[in-house]
Each structure stands twice: as C-alpha cells, then as structure tokens.
C-alpha cells in the first residue's frame, strides 16, 4: 500500500462521519467548530483508513476495465480473490485482525497526506477454529503537506488456511 496523495476533504469527512452514525458537528459545521477548543472541523479518529480511496493499487475497489470478484451474472466475477493487506481480503483468505493509530495531531479539511508503508512483524499461530493462522503487520506513517508526521497506523492482517466455522 502506498498513498502518494490523500487530499482530506470536507465532504469526504461528512460522508465518513455519517457512515459511522456520528452526528457530532465537529466533523461538519465550521461555525460550531470555531467556538470549540479544537477551533476547526476535524476528521473522526478512524477516518485516515479511507486513504484506501487514494491508493491506486488498493485491491478492494473495483477498477475500471478490470475483472471484479463480486457477484454479477455469476456469484463471483473472478477466478481468484484479491487479498488486501490491511483491510481484509477475499473469501477465507485475509481478515483484519488489529488496527492501531497514534495521533500526533488530528486531520482537518485541506490537509494533503502522503502515506509511507513498511512491512512489520510476521508470525504464525495455530487457530482453534481456523487452522493455521498467519499474521502480518504493516506500519503506515502519514505525513502532511509540511512533511510533518500526523498519524502512525499499525495494521495486522490474518490469513487462515480454511474458513473459520460459524457459531
């Protein structure tokens, strides 16, 4: 995952806040925000994850002219399922196990971020229900338009050999 340019936009923040059912005016109302301690509209704490929208290689977004593994005429449109590192993946393959954020400051509309991702640790564990579990960690540092580190994100993905049994 590499995000060269993630423009943080007011409309995107509003849609994101709606999607998590958060009516807090700090995420949309500039006039309200001016009178608060923060002093301006900011983004919710997990908003930075939507940098995926600006990752050209993000596997969990249909791409123009390429096959997509979701259903259409057939239950799946691809022979193999892509698996995303940080955000989950295809059937029985990759799931999101952990997510950690460190906030050096909170995002605001007008910020333009750059994400630099590096591989972290890898380890294996015998799962109780899902066979052998393979864990993979990725660390993404988000820098703003002034090259200042604003958020450090650590993501752990897990792959299973078979689908976990449903309970």
């Amino acid at each position: 995952m590499a995000v060269d340019r993630f423009p943080v936009e007011a409309g995107h923040i509003l849609m994101f806040a709606r999607s998590i059912g958060d009516a807090n005016p700090i995420y949309s109302d500039e006039e309200y925000a001016r009178k608060t301690e923060v002093g301006r509209v900011i983004a919710p704490p997990t908003f930075v994850q939507s940098s995926a929208q600006f990752d050209p290689d993000w596997p969990l977004r249909p791409k123009i002219g390429e096959p997509w593994f979701g259903s259409g005429k057939e239950p799946t449109g691809a022979r193999s399922n892509p698996t995303g590192g940080s955000g989950g993946g295809g059937a029985g393959a990759g799931l999101h196990a952990e997510q950690h954020f460190e906030y050096h400051r909170h995002l605001k509309p007008g910020d333009v971020l750059r994400g630099v991702t590096k591989d972290g640790r890898r380890w294996e564990k015998e799962g109780r229900r899902g066979g052998r579990l393979q864990f993979m960690e990725m660390i993404t540092e988000f820098y703003d338009q002034n090259d200042e580190l604003v958020i450090t994100a650590r993501s752990v993905g897990v792959r299973t050999e078979k689908l976990p049994e449903q309970s």
């Binding site: 900011i42 997990t46 999101h96 449903q166």
Partner: protein, 140 residues
C-alpha cells in the same frame, strides 16, 4: 467538554450503545466512505455462495469507527492520542453494539496529563466483538 484528572479514578467507566439493529445499508455507506468495497460486506450473493458465510458482515473498521464515537463523546474532540483494537468476533446485520471504556491509569507525560483507557465492544448477546485501548489528553 474534556475530562479532568481530578474528577477521574481508575476503574471508572463510560458506555454507550453505538449502533442498534445494524442495517446492511450502513455497511454500504461505510464501504462507500472508507473505500473498502470488499463484497463480503455488501454482496449477499458473494458472501453466501462464494465465501460460505450466512450473510454479509460488518467491516472491522466500522466497529472501530462506531467505538471511536463513544470515545470522542467521552474524552472530547481532538483529545485522543492513541486508539488501537483487536477484532475478536464478527458483527452481523441486526446486531446492537455497546462500547465501554474503563479508566486503566491516569499519568503525566511532561506537562501533559493523560488517561489510559481499556475499550471493549459487545453485541446484544454479551459477546465481545472488539477489545482495545486508547489514551487521551485530559485537563488537570
């Protein structure tokens, strides 16, 4: 309103119902906003026929986002310094989730006072779906 160290004690809790009867449409909203269009979260045909799940299920990050709302409602806007979670159980349409934060420690880092919280989100059956921790700047 920010929290005050003088009025906080270890063990103190805050909890909120962060979603009631989770709708599939909210999963679609979250897919659109976050950019995670994995069909497991919105495509019933794919989720059941290809992936073998009983239906679509929520993005882990949606549960984290819902839980974050409880945190910011309590600690105040722009106050979080860290927030991390483990996804331990799946969240399904129809679920009602309750998130709880518990004060684990109150500490100082230089001139800044911080509260460390443990975080847990449970479903309507009392099953834990997410655990985690967060820290926030607080007032003296």
């Amino acid at each position: 309103m920010a929290l005050q160290a003088s009025r906080l004690e270890v063990g103190q809790t805050h909890e909120e119902v962060v979603v009631e009867d989770l709708k599939r449409t909210q999963l679609v909203q979250y897919s659109g906003a976050s950019g995670d269009y994995n069909p497991l979260h919105s495509d019933e045909v794919f989720a059941t026929k290809v992936a073998g799940y009983p239906t679509v299920f929520a993005h882990g990050m949606l549960t984290m986002g819902l839980t974050g709302k409880m945190l910011t409602n309590w600690v105040g806007d722009g106050r979080l310094t860290s927030f991390g979670v483990r996804f331990v159980g799946q969240v399904w349409p129809g679920d009602t989730l309750t998130s709880r934060a518990t004060v684990a420690a109150i500490r100082e880092a230089g001139a800044t006072k911080l509260v460390d919280l443990t975080v847990e989100t449970v479903n309507q059956d009392g099953r834990t779906v997410m655990t985690g921790a967060a820290s926030a700047r607080i007032d003296p």
